[in-house]
């Protein structure tokens, strides 16, 4: 909005009309986008792909993060992993709803955040919860990094999938939305594969790496398996700040730092 007249027009539409009104929706899109933490990058450290591997995978990453945070401020989200899969399997068998599974998954990503937090404590890095995000700017200014559990707090209000009960919006989505709301510089997913493949490289030898792809192309390909939660693709296509994400292999030393510096070292998925 460029001037006070526009501000007044929007305010009066908001007072009078339905919030589903197409004119109101369109006008809300003309409001400015103020990036809250434009210099900060959000990293997601995989649960199954990284943390469940133990110190062989995690120690080198901790060292790399401790070094790179001095020049590149980072918010570090954690995935859930194998314990969440076990709990989902039990809960699914019991016929429990998606909301209960979401709560359980959140606890596991919280454990992973706690473990990573203890390893990074000596570098001054705190673990924050949603309610502590208000102080995150201070932590980042002080020490260049903060850790958060990647699961979004949807709990009993989680969207229900078309089939089954596994929560559709998990830690990939949660980390993406943190990056988007803060208007972060970039969103990087640290996994145990070099990026996105045409099939699951762990089970299909013919799988080929896709270095770069758009959301539309990816949706069109309708891959059977995917390295990133499917709902992230839709969130990415609608996001106003984060217009691409990169998936990289955290088991290869140095790639996190290179990705943070803006290098293309994995798969980049772009909104358009």
């Amino acid at each position: 909005m460029d001037d006070a007249a526009d501000t007044g027009a929007l305010q009066s539409l908001l007072m009078d009309r339905s919030l589903s009104d197409p004119e109101v929706l369109a006008m809300s899109g003309t409001a400015p986008d103020y990036p809250i933490l434009p210099d900060v990058s959000v990293l997601k450290i995989g649960g199954q792909s990284v943390i469940d591997r133990g110190r062989a995978a995690v120690y080198p990453i901790v060292e790399e993060l401790a070094e790179i945070k001095q020049s590149h401020p980072i918010l570090i989200g954690t995935g859930a992993g194998t314990r969440a899969r076990h709990a989902y399997a039990i809960a699914t068998g019991l016929g429990l709803p998606t909301g209960v599974l979401t709560d359980i998954g959140a606890a596991v990503s919280g454990q992973n955040a706690s473990m990573l937090g203890h390893l990074m404590a000596r570098y001054g890095v705190p673990v924050v919860s949603e309610s502590a995000f208000a102080a995150v700017a201070l932590y980042l200014a002080q020490c260049g990094a903060a850790i958060f559990p990647g699961m979004p707090p949807y709990d009993m209000w989680q969207h229900v999938p078309a089939e089954g009960v596994i929560p559709p919006y998990r830690t990939d989505a949660g980390c993406f939305l943190v990056a988007e709301v803060f208007g972060a510089r970039q969103m990087i997913y640290v996994k145990d594969e070099d990026g996105l493949y045409t099939a699951n490289p762990k089970t299909d030898e013919s799988a080929a790496l896709i270095p770069e792809i758009t959301v539309d192309e990816l949706i069109e390909r309708d891959l059977q398996d995917l390295v990133i939660e499917r709902p992230v693709l839709e969130l990415l296509s609608r996001a106003r700040h984060i217009r691409s994400v990169q998936v990289i292999n955290g088991l290869r030393p140095g790639l996190i730092s290179r990705a943070l510096r803006g290098e293309h070292v994995g798969t980049i998925i772009t909104a358009a």
Binding site: L14, M15, D21, T82, Y154, M156, W157
Partner: protein, 299 residues
């Protein structure tokens, strides 16, 4: 000496172990069609509109609260509140400041919470309390065993994790969506939206040119979406969510300005517009030839 472990994942054995949880066929094998438990089959979720009910002040709110008070003895209720006009104001200020959707969602949710405090205060002498999202998620059962009703925030706890919407920046998950998702997660018996209109009209009575607006008594969610009506008394996203819901097959929109409507809807009577999840009228078990939701004996 055991050798240094290599890059080997320490798995907990389960049907989902080593999966991405994104391979459709693998997930379907273990998480296929199955009956989902109704956690609180006796629960009634009653949503009070912010603008349509609470912003009208004492003249409207008091009779509605008295009706809830009287209905409590028969129906266990979670009352959820919408935010109303103050949320519109803070939304306007926040948009003007360039704040993102997730921040706007948190700001608007505060107003819905404040309206919940107002309603809970008026029913406190009946043992009714305002519950936080956390209490609703983890302790609703005990609260509704200690008291016949509780009040909470209609907005879901999405906060800064709100989705960017397809168009513009207004948070898409508001009171109507929050109430629906929660009701479905708990497998609620009744999901009633209390508004200031008799239900869904084929066009907005205020702007209809030519044809007289007609009240839709019973309509499918998908059908209603396809009708592309400009002004609905319920957020469109609820109609989309109905397609995947596990338990909630219908919701009812009732006019809270008409005394007795809330009570009658809680008893399963059809007093407003019922929106059902069936994709076609032939799939609608409560449709033609059968009195809609007439069975008050359940729960």
């Amino acid at each position: 000496m055991t050798p240094e472990p290599t890059f080997a994942t320490k798995d907990v054995a389960s049907v989902f172990a080593r999966q991405t949880l994104l391979d459709r066929d693998l997930v379907r094998q273990a998480d296929g069609p199955r009956e989902v438990v109704r956690l609180l089959p006796w629960l009634n979720v009653v949503t009070l509109g912010g603008r349509s009910i609470i912003d009208r002040g004492a003249g409207t709110v008091k009779p509605v609260v008295e009706e809830l008070r009287a209905a409590m003895s028969e129906h266990r209720m979670l009352v959820l509140t919408g935010p109303g006009v103050r949320a519109r104001h803070v939304l306007g200020v926040g948009l003007d400041l360039g704040l993102p959707t997730g921040v706007l969602a948190s700001l608007m949710a505060t107003e819905a919470s404040q309206n919940g405090h107002l309603i809970a205060a008026l029913l406190a002498d009946e043992g009714v309390s305002y519950l936080s999202h956390q209490s609703v998620a983890l302790q609703l059962a005990v609260h509704l065993s200690a008291s016949r009703a509780a009040v909470s925030n209609g907005f879901p706890p999405y906060g800064i994790y709100e989705f960017p919407p397809p168009v513009g920046k207004i948070p898409p998950h508001r009171t109507d969506a929050g109430a629906f998702l929660l009701a479905d997660a708990y497998g609620a018996r009744n999901t009633v939206y209390v508004k200031d209109v008799d239900g869904v009209y084929t066009s907005d009575p205020a702007t209809a040119d030519g044809g007289k607006p007609e009240l839709l008594r019973r309509v499918g969610a998908a059908e209603l979406l396809a009708m592309d009506i400009e002004t609905l008394p319920i957020d469109l996203i609820v109609l989309e969510l109905m397609a995947t819901a596990k338990h909630i097959n219908d919701i009812q929109i009732v006019n809270g300005l008409t005394p007795g409507n809330i009570t009658r809807a809680l008893s399963g009577e059809h007093v407003g517009t019922i929106i059902h999840a069936a994709r076609s009228p032939s799939e609608d078990p409560g449709g033609a030839g059968r009195p809609a939701r007439g069975d008050a004996s359940r729960g």
